[in-house]
């Protein structure tokens, strides 16, 4: 177990990167604390797997340092770093049985035979493949292979960290949920640093205590699921977390706040103050569909919007409305009724109205 620190890390797969667009990872500083359960969340191609491979040592970063407990490990091979990693596409050694597969990392580490027996049995029990131990790995189904592949990552007890690269891709949803719980249990039981890469926010928040959201080669926010939901640090986090994502509206400066088209949005005092200190004209406001409120009439600070569409998702409804020039999505109680084309009055609670300048959140100065 160790604390994993990434220091001004950057990586490019091209030999001579010309500009920032050639980098898979751009100038990144981050610390994964000892014994934490973390998720690394981001869309495909944002550099998640690259970062994982840099931590495990399969990829050498072009710039920056990887530190384990303060020790530089850039030059060490994965073998020397003693890291376990589970790959997205299950790798099983198909000439071996399931037992031999799970025992392989232990044998390589010269673990005594009796200990191998008990440890493999333990892991097989957790992953529910105990009855398949003597089957040849090549005859397994896709999800069994993924379990074996995962089992090989979990079987070693002395690892620095376990890295999961979307390890549940081919497993069906019900089992996925179960295995995620298992992983969480294993984490609580053994207290190993775990980093779990996924593009599924639900998966990330059920597994991890803290989630790092990665976008375009950078970690744009690192926080608890609630923090990511309530105070997205970057427009991407707002858009990516939540279903549907945050409503993001391009706005212009106006006399005492911001506006889009004829709609004036009221901001909090400190937001206006801070905005005045910033030069950029790339200004957005963001508000989550969950936080937009339905006003009973044309009250102060409410806007009239036209209902364009309504989706009934069983326990709640998502309505799409047109407000001025913008389309917004609003989450409504399942009892809400309004005809397409009808008018509703909406208001934006100021505490949930986020202000973004150059895509980053404008925060209250403390």
């Amino acid at each position: 177990m160790a604390e994993i620190q990434l220091k001004s890390l950057a990586h490019s797969y091209s030999e001579s990167p010309a500009g920032p667009e050639d980098y898979a990872i751009r100038q990144l500083d981050h610390v994964w604390h000892k014994g934490g359960a973390y998720a690394l969340l981001g869309p495909s191609g944002c550099g998640k797997s690259t970062m994982l491979n840099i931590i495990s040592g399969l990829v050498q970063p072009s710039e920056g340092e990887v530190l384990f407990d303060g020790q530089r490990v850039n030059e060490l091979s994965p073998r020397e770093r003693n890291i376990a990693q589970v790959f997205q596409f299950p790798v099983v050694y198909d000439s071996m049985t399931v037992f031999e597969n799970l025992a392989f990392p232990l044998k390589n580490n010269k673990v005594p035979g009796a200990r191998i027996q008990t440890r493999v049995a333990e892991i097989a029990e957790i992953l529910e493949i105990a009855d398949k131990l003597h089957k040849k790995a090549r005859n397994l189904t896709a999800d069994e292979k993924q379990k074996v592949s995962m089992g090989r990552g979990l079987v070693r007890e002395d690892v620095t960290a376990i890295l999961f690269d979307e390890p549940l891709t081919v497993i069906d949803p019900a089992l996925k949920w179960k295995l995620r719980r298992k992983l969480k249990q294993i984490h609580e039981q053994f207290d190993i640093t775990m980093v779990y890469v996924t593009h599924d926010q639900l998966e990330a928040s059920t597994f991890a205590d803290k989630i790092a959201v990665m976008y375009d080669g950078q970690i744009v926010q690192f926080g608890t699921p609630i923090e990511l939901f309530e105070h997205p640090n970057h427009t991407f986090v707002g858009y990516f977390i939540g279903s549907p994502g945050m409503n993001l509206i391009d706005v212009e400066r106006s006399a005492d706040g911001v506006s889009f088209g004829a709609v004036r949005v009221a901001l909090q005092e400190w937001q206006i103050e801070r905005l005045q200190g910033l030069a950029s004209n790339n200004i957005k406001i963001g508000i989550r569909p969950e936080f937009i409120e339905l006003a009973s009439g044309a009250a102060e600070g409410s806007y009239q919007a036209e209902v364009l569409d309504m989706e009934d998702l069983g326990t709640y409804k998502i309505i799409t409305v047109r407000l001025g020039t913008q389309q917004l999505q609003v989450r409504m109680h399942e009892d809400f009724e309004a005809g397409i084309g009808s008018r509703v009055h909406l208001s934006f609670p100021p505490q949930w109205t986020m202000l973004y300048v150059d895509e980053f959140l404008v925060q209250e100065q403390s």
């Binding site: 495990s56 399969l58 091979s77 994965p78 073998r79 003693n82 890291i83 376990a84 990693q85 790959f87 596409f89 790798v91 050694y93 198909d94 000439s95 071996m96 392989f104 990392p105 044998k107 390589n108 580490n109 003597h134 089957k135 040849k136 005859n139 592949s149 090989r152 990552g153």
Partner: protein, 288 residues
Amino acid sequence: MDRIPDNRAWWLVLPVFLLVAFSALIPLMTVVNYSVQDIFGPGQAYFVGTEWFREVLTDQRLQDSLLRQFLFSGAVLLIQIPLGIGVALLMPKSGIKGSLCLILVAIPLLIPWNVVGTIWQIFARGDIGLFGWGVNQLGVDYNYTGNTVDAWLTVLLMDVWHWTPLVALLCYSGLRAIPEAFYQAAEIDRASRWAVFRYIQLPRLKSVLVIAVLLRFMDSFMIYSEPFVLTGGGPGSSTTFLSQTLTTMAVGQFDLGRAAAFSLVYFLIVLLISWLFFTAITHADKDT
């Protein structure tokens, strides 16, 4: 659905039947024809039944060359398969170095059999051949035309030089087909170099090795030109293999009946052993 009784569909089998007939059955039947008759000339054929076969199977000369043939093929497989795998493992995986290596390794394969024999016939000579002369200079008494052991070693060395590249190329392609993910997983699992070879590379080379073993067995079992040019089967008959014995019988002595019977036996041996190899190797695959 109602079945329509119509036997014309059998005509569709005709192309395959013709192909097999011309490629295998008709030539083979000619040999079968000769093997059961004594033919002196047109219209002068006498049916002799299994006489040729009985003679061939008890012929000491043939038994000796059959034994030599097995020894030779066995040695060829024992040397070339491990050596070929070794060479393939050492070859660079990609890039300009990989391509250069491929060309270098493949060169012996492009040389015609007769030329290979001629090259080694000169190369291994004690007086003017670089190899033979060099070995003699080292103080080793080496003379492949006079000494049986030297002759055998030279024939083997020549075959290893000529055909190990085939095994190496097959294995190289097999190795390249292993996804990088397996090596990464093995690295993460802290597998030793040997464990990577034993548990990842070797199992995945199996199918190409089946082909390599079969090809090398069949080719070496039918070897003719190279030892014929190099040693002429000598000294004595110490490097006379089956094909050469057969040729001497058929062309040299014009003993067509015996040669035909012998050809059939030869053919059946190759077929039988190839089948044994194949089933043995593919059978090891099936398990629970």
